[in-house]
Subunit: 89 residues, 4 copies
């Protein structure tokens, strides 16, 4: 499913924010900041990445997957499940 222009912009903004968080982690390591504070920032970036991953998965499932199955191709399901498995492990 194509994302609407707004969805695309929102998604890119979220990813840019994660890039900023990762740069923040780097700066904190360089400045020898307190480990627990760095960890909090790492976890925030990681949680945000998980959300971005889920958003992309959702878009894929509702779009490509449904469409491919409707057109008689169920192999997309295997591919999607491999990706989910990768996320959960």
């Amino acid at each position: 499913m194509r994302r609407t222009e707004k969805e695309q912009r929102d998604l890119i903004n979220k990813i840019k924010r994660i890039e900023g968080q990762v740069r923040g982690v780097q700066r904190m390591v360089e400045e020898d900041r307190y480990c627990i504070d760095i960890l909090t920032q790492v976890q925030a970036a990681r949680a945000a990445l998980t959300q971005v991953g889920l958003a992309i998965l959702e878009n894929h499932a509702k779009g490509c997957v449904v469409q491919a199955i409707e057109q008689g191709d169920a192999s997309v399901i295997e591919e999607m499940l491999a990706s989910v498995r990768n996320f959960v492990k």
Copy 2:
């Protein structure tokens, strides 16, 4: 998708093994066994549960989900995604 008889039996055996692992955890706590050893057993049960969950999800996706979409009902995708989201978080 209906599981074959063999798949059903395998799945039930896996779940029985997890039940045994959980009972093992209980016994170890009662016997005041070393925490790290108990944790190893907890993690084994948890990893096995994750695998059982993924197996059930896979069966569902390849069966019910594909079938429902082929019959024109794409709402099963939302339901499946909510379940995946629950697993990943």
Copy 3:
């Protein structure tokens, strides 16, 4: 750190509840219940196991780990970290 009698009882009750949840999963599979409902039960058991694992880890860290370090043995930290790593992956 020894658990108090109440903590020990609470922990065992939680583990018994998980055993019941796992048995519930087995019954649902045997009765061919709807996959998404089974998954919800699997996830509940898994989340409860995670909490039990964290409770045991906490008890271990505040008890054995602190005590061992105070007695000059810091090797318990490595062991605990390996266990944490196992949980996170």
Copy 4:
């Protein structure tokens, strides 16, 4: 525990690589690349962040935590456990 210069450099290189991976995700979204390929990249960045988090936790546990306990302050354990809990959930 202070990281050695080499450890510090290695850690910063890992973080820089993650920043690059996140930028890669952004580019792939902008170019409307195939969702599953984007997801693979998201998962790679997420797994790398987890490893960075664990490395920082390890450094903290073996350094600050051991030292604080040796000096009679066990409160660092609570703080570390809260951070682990945050990671596992």
